[in-house]
């Protein structure tokens, strides 16, 4: 017999857990006491529970393991909710252990009581309230299975204090399949053959992949690259999918969607066969649905059947794991003797190269004011020269889109950003988690001056654990994306989007035992980046950038892919955005 707290820790160890991100409190004291008495699992003390979840997400996304969070009852659990929804939207496997008041007090409005399973039901893939210590070990093992299996996601285990203190038996992870949850990972061969038949005959094909390829593991990215090269097709990635296909490859069209490249979006609009693997036709990607890829046959492979035919009706549905689907596609492509329409494909590439020639990401760095695009471009080039393994996290807003556009990713799992939920304050704690998983790597949080303040308290965590995370702030003194929309869609009325009363980020860094650097003009930029990389400790680099730069290209809300705006000088601009479009986020 073991105590509930010991059972939890034993189950975590058996699941291969090495680190927990957490914050103590009354209801979880027994677990913290058990943690104190062992050395197998390391605990990272964050400064806010939301950050614990983002750190676990960063850890999970960069290592492929499950991230684990431990928080107390009531406010500990409610503070974690934003992180849980973030992990749900981006399909990140996270286990969140929450303390709870003892079972006999549940429902009595006890001190620090919250209905955690009620609150987190729509915020998680699944959740548990453990009321019987005999089931505790089984629940923890099952939670890991649920977090990882099928489309991954966050799982909450709510642990009343009497359960943590009480004695019960430990059981190992069961070898039998789950009673009810057994997601399909192997694709149906008939659907694969049907897909290959369409792809072989394609005249204007495009491969569009998302986070599902990343979540499947690095092998899926390798298979994607193999498949795209053997077919000669163009490939575009979603924001969540960046790194699955090497950005330097000539067959890569860049990111697609609202701030995607001209060539990626027009290839989507003009294609005759679309192969979507592990992406979900998100509204950021499709633009106006009734004008989305109007002449195309669509093939959609996803591990989550509910993602298929949700927003966009498709012609071929393939349920399965992205890696297994790619393997099957490669085999079926080889087995199918139908010749490709090479002349049509050559013609298609000629059209695409015409779009590419627009050079939609070009910007003009003139004068001394730093263009934010230039800052990212130089950060990318200088880190690449350094040859160090580099992980990038971001906050949310313009800087995030610029990072996606101007920082190239050659490998999966090196790019961590809040895609679905769009959580400002994600990047710094996520970078902590990445750094814990990769102690020797270069981890950079590309941030905005507004977002970074949302979880700035985590500077304390960086200091405590000597995590050498670099925070690269593109400081334009505005909530830039809000300002951009206000400029383009709300008559330039900049309602509450100015970042007034900002801290001195250099002094702020110093007060948290970190180094603060500042670049005011373009002449400072390279020096500051190099200095930042050379420092063996946490750094905030405050980069003063052009305050009114907008993020382009842009598909205005409610517009179609072929109605995108390339830049500020484009005739018409966003004048054509309808009221219907303005309703959209």
């Amino acid at each position: 017999m073991m105590s509930g707290a010991e059972i939890v820790l034993q189950a975590l160890k058996d699941q291969g857990v090495e680190v927990i991100f957490g914050y103590p409190g009354g209801a979880v004291l027994p677990l913290y006491d058990a943690l104190f008495q062992q050395n197998a699992i390391r605990h990272i003390l964050v400064r806010h529970e939301q950050a614990a979840v983002h750190a676990a997400e960063g850890y999970a996304r960069s290592t492929g393991k499950v991230g684990v969070v431990l928080v107390t009852s009531g406010p500990g659990a409610t503070n974690a909710v934003t992180g849980l929804v973030d992990a749900l939207m981006d399909s990140i496997p996270v286990i969140c252990l929450t303390g709870q008041v003892p079972t006999h007090l549940i429902g009595n409005d006890a001190f620090q009581e919250a209905d955690t399973t009620g609150i987190t039901r729509p915020a998680t893939k699944h959740n548990y309230l453990v009321k019987d210590i005999n089931k505790l070990a089984g629940v923890v093992h099952e939670a890991f299975y649920v977090a990882k299996a099928g489309r991954p996601g966050p799982v909450v285990i709510d642990l009343p204090k009497d359960i943590l203190i009480g004695k019960g038996p430990y059981t190992e992870a069961p070898q039998t399949p789950h009673r009810s949850y057994r997601p399909q990972t192997e694709p149906d061969p008939a659907a694969i053959r049907q897909a290959v038949r369409l792809l072989k005959q394609a005249k204007r094909p495009v491969v569009y992949t998302g986070g599902g390829v990343i979540n499947s593991g690095p092998e899926a990215s390798r298979l994607l690259t193999e498949f795209v090269r053997m077919t000669g097709f163009p490939c575009t990635n979603t924001l969540m999918g960046l790194g699955a296909y090497p950005s330097s490859d000539p067959q890569f069209l860049g990111m697609l969607g609202m701030h995607g490249t001209y060539e990626a979006n027009l290839a989507m609009h003009g294609c005759d066969v679309m192969l979507n693997i592990g992406a979900r036709f998100d509204d950021r990607v499709t633009g106006r649905l009734n004008a989305f890829a109007p002449q195309s046959k669509k093939i959609h492979a996803d591990i989550d059947p509910s993602s298929i035919n949700k927003n966009v009706a498709v012609d071929v549905a393939i349920v399965g794991d992205a890696g297994r689907v790619l393997q099957a596609l490669i085999e079926a492509w080889r087995a199918d003797a139908t010749p490709q329409d090479k002349p049509a494909l050559t013609e298609w590439w000629r059209t695409i190269d015409g779009w590419r020639a627009k050079d939609c990401l070009r910007y003009r760095q003139e004068g001394s004011i730093i263009k934010p695009q230039h800052a990212i471009r130089r950060l990318y080039e200088i880190t690449r020269e350094s040859g160090r393994e580099t992980f990038i996290t971001t906050e949310v807003g313009q800087h995030q889109m610029w990072a996606a556009q101007y920082f190239g990713f050659e490998k999966p799992n090196h790019w961590m950003t809040s895609g679905g939920l769009g959580t400002m304050g994600y990047g710094l704690p996520a970078a902590m988690g990445v750094q814990i998983g990769h102690p020797d790597a270069l981890v950079i949080d590309i941030a905005g001056e507004a977002s970074i303040l949302m979880n700035i308290q985590e500077m304390g965590t960086l200091a405590q654990y000597r995590l050498p995370v670099k925070i690269f702030i593109l400081n334009n003194e505005y909530m830039g994306m809000v300002r951009q929309w206000q400029e383009l869609l709300h008559g330039g009325r900049y309602s509450e989007s100015y970042s007034a009363a900002l801290p001195d980020f250099v002094k702020l860094a110093e007060s948290f035992h970190a180094t603060g650097l500042r670049a005011k003009t373009v002449d400072d930029l390279d020096r500051v980046i190099r200095e930042m990389l050379a420092i063996d400790g946490p750094v905030i680099a405050d980069i003063a950038v052009d305050k009114e730069e907008n993020c382009f290209p842009m598909i205005p809300s409610g517009a179609a892919h072929n109605e995108m705006i390339l830049g500020p000088d484009q005739e018409g601009g966003v004048a054509g955005v309808t009221d219907e479009g303005k309703v959209l986020v």
Binding site: T117, G118, R121, P122, K125, H126, L129, V146, G150, R151, R179, S180, Y181, P183, N290, D304, P305, S306, I308, N309, K310, A313
Partner: protein, 174 residues
């Protein structure tokens, strides 16, 4: 032009076999409210004590695409074993039960009893001034009976919602 699967509404009676555990109904109901789906009727009860299974019957409406979504969303809930679209998968039986209270005397009371007889409603409680009928049937039949009782002293109605099962030898297995 959107095809009919995206515009035409249809009804669906969906049977769901689930683990009989705390919170499962909240998960299902939360799914419908959170994603804006209709619930026209919902019933739930344990059907297999030994294997801890409950059966939920949901009557909903939507386009084909929405109903496919509803089924896929239900199916990916962890404690859900099986989802069946009884409307789509062939002929099925759907029944509802109702208890209905009518208060009145004299000719009104006699008329209520005559109609109940015609509808095969059973008297399950009677006082000198009131009657409670128990009635089973399709929703339409229950609606018709309620309408007839309206002028005869109808006081209160309690309905179970729809339970349904496929005709023939096939069965829904966990």
């Amino acid at each position: 032009m959107p095809d009919s699967s995206e515009t035409t509404l249809r009804n669906a009676t969906i049977a769901v076999l689930v683990e009989n555990e705390a919170g499962i109904l909240a998960r299902v109901v939360g799914l419908f409210s959170g994603r804006g789906y209709n619930i026209e009727s919902l019933t739930v009860a344990p059907v297999d004590e030994e294997r801890r299974l409950s059966r939920i019957t949901i009557v909903t409406s939507g386009t084909d695409m929405v109903i496919e979504q509803i089924k896929a969303q239900l199916d990916r809930l962890v404690p859900v074993h099986k989802v069946a679209d009884l409307t789509l998968e062939g002929p099925h039986l759907a029944r509802e039960m109702m208890l209905i209270k009518v208060v009145g005397t004299g000719e009104q009371r006699m008329e209520a009893l005559r109609l109940a007889d015609a509808f095969r409603a059973r008297v399950v409680d009677a006082t000198t001034g009131s009657l409670v009928f128990e009635m089973t049937g399709s929703g339409d039949k229950l609606d018709a009976f309620i309408a007839l009782m309206q002028p005869l002293g109808l006081k209160e109605v309690s309905r179970t919602g729809v339970v349904a099962i496929a005709r023939g030898a096939g069965s829904l297995q966990a």
